[in-house]
């Protein structure tokens, strides 16, 4: 109780044909929550956000923010909403400052203090023409624009793209601060770390369908320990993998190649017994790491749809 849903999607469908679009999305985001929206490129993240912004109309289902219809009452919703587009399109002939002032006027802002604070914070020099600005610079302008009118709801489409690591940190700090103030945030991303650092819950979308909505803390607890064992040769590795307590760890997202005499595995059963087994097989090296959130998500990407 006490929690109130701010954004609601009910069975939202927008079919663009050829399997493109979004299908039967149902999600609610509660007041004061930071909600991550993760998925690979082309999964339907931007399509979802366009419907929330009232740019496009869902074919089926309802899309509401603060209880108002996202298409029909867009102008009411926008009074309290900040938006950062995934593909920023700014008028090229304007300077950053001209643009921000123009937007401030359109938003009916009287107080420009927050705008200046944000510019300072992101070390944005807004004097240059948009045409000459780098991707990162434009992104900063976009972020300032999204937050400058102190919105209650913020919708961000891939907010950190183009930002350097330092600025990414500034951005994460900003999100955490806004969260404390009670701002409701929806943030799409394909970068796991920024979602991990900022979001309370995360939906995972794949091929236009939501495959999971997870609590981030719960998810963090579900991470497995992964052992990388180096043995004498390939035969020894093969033999080790036949042991019942030992399971090979594989996922399509693994980036680095491992040698033939190595294996990545997860274990079940008691640890002393397992370690003894490693010793019996003549272990030469042993590394242990915690499964990254990325790997956890990749599990969903691979099996989530099939499982349904």
């Amino acid at each position: 109780m006490g929690k109130k849903s701010v954004m609601e999607l009910e069975h939202v469908t927008k079919d663009y044909g050829n399997g493109k679009g979004v299908f039967d999305l149902s999600v609610t985001v509660e007041r004061g929550e930071a909600f991550g929206y993760l998925g690979p490129n082309g999964a339907g993240k931007t399509t979802t956000i366009r419907q929330l912004m009232g740019f496009i109309r869902p074919e089926k289902g309802n899309c509401r923010i603060m209880g108002m219809d996202c298409f029909k009452q867009a102008q009411e919703i926008q009074k309290k909403t900040g938006y950062l587009a995934g593909e920023l399109a700014f008028p090229e002939d304007m300077t950053g400052l001209e643009f921000l002032k123009f937007m401030a006027e359109l938003k009916g802002m009287k107080d420009q203090r927050k705008m200046r604070d944000l510019m300072e914070r992101f070390e944005l020099n807004p004097q240059g023409k948009m045409k000459k600005m780098s991707k990162g610079m434009k992104q900063k302008v976009g972020i300032v624009n999204a937050f400058m009118h102190e919105p209650e709801v913020v919708i961000l489409d891939e907010p950190t793209s183009g930002l350097d690591p330092l600025m990414q940190n500034v951005f994460v700090e900003l999100i955490l601060e806004e969260k404390k103030k009670g701002t409701t945030i929806l943030m799409s991303s394909h970068i796991f770390e920024e979602v991990e650092k900022t979001c309370d819950r995360t939906a995972i979308i794949r091929s236009g369908r939501i495959v999971a909505v997870e609590d981030m803390k719960f998810l963090a607890g579900k991470r497995k320990k992964i052992y990388r064992v180096t043995l004498e040769n390939q035969e020894a590795v093969k033999k080790l993998l036949t042991e019942p307590e030992i399971h090979i760890w594989k996922h399509s997202g693994s980036k680095e190649e491992i040698f033939s005499n190595q294996a990545e595995l997860t274990v079940s059963g008691d640890l002393p017994g397992i370690l003894k087994k490693f010793a019996d097989y003549g272990v030469q090296d042993l590394e242990v790491r915690t499964q990254s959130l990325e790997e956890l998500f990749l599990q969903y990407y691979e099996t989530g749809v099939r499982g349904k």
Partner: protein
């Protein structure tokens, strides 16, 4: 036109002032360039007015009747207004404003839709209705401004070079009618921009339709048998005869043009408010 009623009702709330100012900034240059070109033509044509030349030109008309007729240059000018009508309002005052209209609608509507800058506007507490009304009023205002300025140049040039020879009232009527015609053409271009998503289709239809109308007009000017074609082109709705010969105060054609323009702006605005915008 449609928005005027809103403006009055809501005390100016149906247009966005910051957007209006922005529109002025964006359209300033093309407006000035086209104005300069038109001013040059207008003054040169007025400068060239003299009865002897008129005879020489009617000599051309005898030698190349179809060619001259195609661009509306027929008949012998009995006075300065007829002279201007023959040599300006068959071609120059139709085509150059069309170029301006295409650039203007591109800058005010098609560009923001295609380039995605419209997203910035829609992400503010301004309704689509308010945005599109602001754009419509801007378009009507800028074409009116262009015609207003050219009209002043015309009157001033005539008074300097041929004092007292211009029938000012009828000249004003001719320009109001031409402006109405161009506003109807703006309606066509605007409606197209409200329906399509990319510049290619916009230019294909938005520019294509008026140009086809214009070509049909040229063909229908040429011959008696082809004259029937005038019923399929909007440009034949310019009430030249009525204004020049019959002194009509408000020719029927103007009413038709007004209705066409109103219908197209309303339909376009309606379409804009309900369409999907992939921004």
């Amino acid at each position: 036109m449609i928005c005027v009623s809103y403006v009055e009702k809501d005390g100016g709330k149906m247009i966005s002032v910051p957007l209006w100012k922005r529109n002025v900034k964006v359209c300033r240059m093309p407006l000035l360039v086209i104005f300069a070109v038109l001013s040059m033509y207008v003054t040169v044509i007025i400068y060239m007015y003299n009865p002897e030349l008129s005879e020489m030109l009617s000599g051309y008309q005898q030698a190349l009747p179809e060619m001259m007729a195609a661009v509306g240059m027929t008949g012998v000018a009995a006075n300065l207004l007829e002279w201007m009508q023959i040599y300006l309002y068959g071609f120059i005052m139709l085509l150059f404003p069309l170029i301006f209209i295409l650039i203007m609608v591109q800058k005010l509507l098609m560009g923001p839709i295609e380039g995605g800058t419209l997203a910035n506007l829609l992400a503010t507490p301004n309704s689509r209705k308010k945005i599109i009304c602001t754009q419509i009023l801007s378009m009507i205002f800028f074409t009116a401004l262009l015609f207003g300025m050219v009209t002043i140049v015309g009157i001033v040039s005539c008074e300097i070079m041929f004092p007292g020879e211009l029938a000012v009232g009828r000249y004003l009527m001719l320009n109001v009618s031409t402006w109405l015609l161009q506003t109807a053409v703006t309606g066509i271009v605007f409606f197209v921009a409200c329906c399509v998503s990319d510049s290619k289709s916009y230019y294909l239809m938005g520019a294509g339709l008026p140009v086809v109308f214009f070509l049909i007009q040229m063909v229908s000017n040429m011959g008696e048998k082809l004259e029937k074609l005038k019923y399929v082109t909007i440009y034949s709705l310019l009430p030249v005869e009525e204004i020049i010969k019959e002194n009509a105060v408000f020719p029927l054609q103007n009413g038709v043009l007004f209705l066409i323009a109103t219908a197209l702006f309303l339909l376009g605005a309606w379409q804009f408010q309900r369409r999907d915008l992939s921004l």
